[in-house]
Subunit: 190 residues, 2 copies
């Protein structure tokens, strides 16, 4: 299963078997049940999570108790509350499992240690963080200036696999529309 | 003036005089007039920009021609369209100068070269990108689940200097409110 992490890293930098074994020894593998919290608002965020299997969502809750989905997490992706993880502070969002999920957990100290030990791992994480920047920028642009229909089309184009895994009411919440509006989009799709 | 870049880098990693001179030789200094475009939608984004002086804004335009401000840029900050810069593709936003601005321009090839040459510069850019991630995450959380009054308070708390430099109608656009609503916030502030 941890082969997925190696393939993921090796899309950017190549590793010897010994290097990968050393890197992997800095992760802890953990299984989470459906609906289980991985990150909880108000608690310290100790880890970044590489997703081996399952499906997750991160979301914030507004003053009226309404949930707003920030992102989904799928196998081969990373997820955490990065503001809290980088600052080693408490979470301002929740992350929980839409499906049972197996995650490789990397502490902040171990991430920094690996980056200091290997220039190429520092390079790997810089490149991954660049990609996250792009995804976050796209999310902001989409929230600021796209219609719900455009946001739906973008999501379907970028992450078609999400539509297989994620319940419709969560897709609707991510897009900021009602389920009724979402089903109109889906119909216009056929 | 380029001392500002050295101080900026040395908040994260220390440099010798020779190292800084070598790094600086990879930047091109350029002056921009008020209202001049630094990045223009549809054009290739060749550079990331370190701001020595002035004030900038990045924004996208929706189908109705309405401008939505993504971020502001102040001295000691970086600004570009990162999606286009990292992908060496065309911009999906505009960046222009609110005030005359002096920028240090770093091409993508030079950034990668410096990162490959110096592990500590790779470290510096990873850390800067982490910080940008946090800022982008905050912007998303704020767009998803904060009221306009909360967004105003957050902006004032984080970047008080913006309120000195940036015209009120641009602050209103950033917050997604009318100028009239903004002046009510400002009054309740006194």
């Amino acid at each position: 299963m941890s082969e997925l992490l190696r393939q993921h890293i090796e899309k950017i930098v190549l590793l010897t078997d010994a290097e990968f074994a050393h890197i992997l020894s800095h992760f802890v593998s953990k299984k989470f049940k459906k609906h289980q919290f991985v990150v909880q608002e108000g608690q310290v965020v100790a880890h970044d999570f590489f997703i081996l299997s399952g499906c997750l969502k991160s979301y914030s809750t507004d003053v009226n108790g309404k949930e707003h989905i920030i992102q989904f997490g799928m196998p081969d992706w990373w997820i955490t509350d990065y503001q809290a993880y980088y600052g080693q502070s408490v979470a301002t969002m929740n992350i929980d499992c839409i499906e049972p999920s197996e995650l490789l957990c990397l502490s902040y100290a171990n991430r920094e240690k690996l980056c200091a030990e290997y220039h190429k791992i520092e390079h790997f994480f810089r490149k991954k963080t660049n990609k996250r920047n792009v995804a976050l920028q796209q999310r902001i642009l989409s929230l600021l200036s796209s219609t719900a229909q455009e946001r739906y089309d973008q999501l379907l184009q970028q992450y078609p696999e999400l539509f297989q895994k994620v319940p419709k009411h969560l897709i609707a919440s991510y897009l900021g529309v009602t389920r009724e509006t979402l089903s109109r989009f889906r119909q216009s799709d056929k």
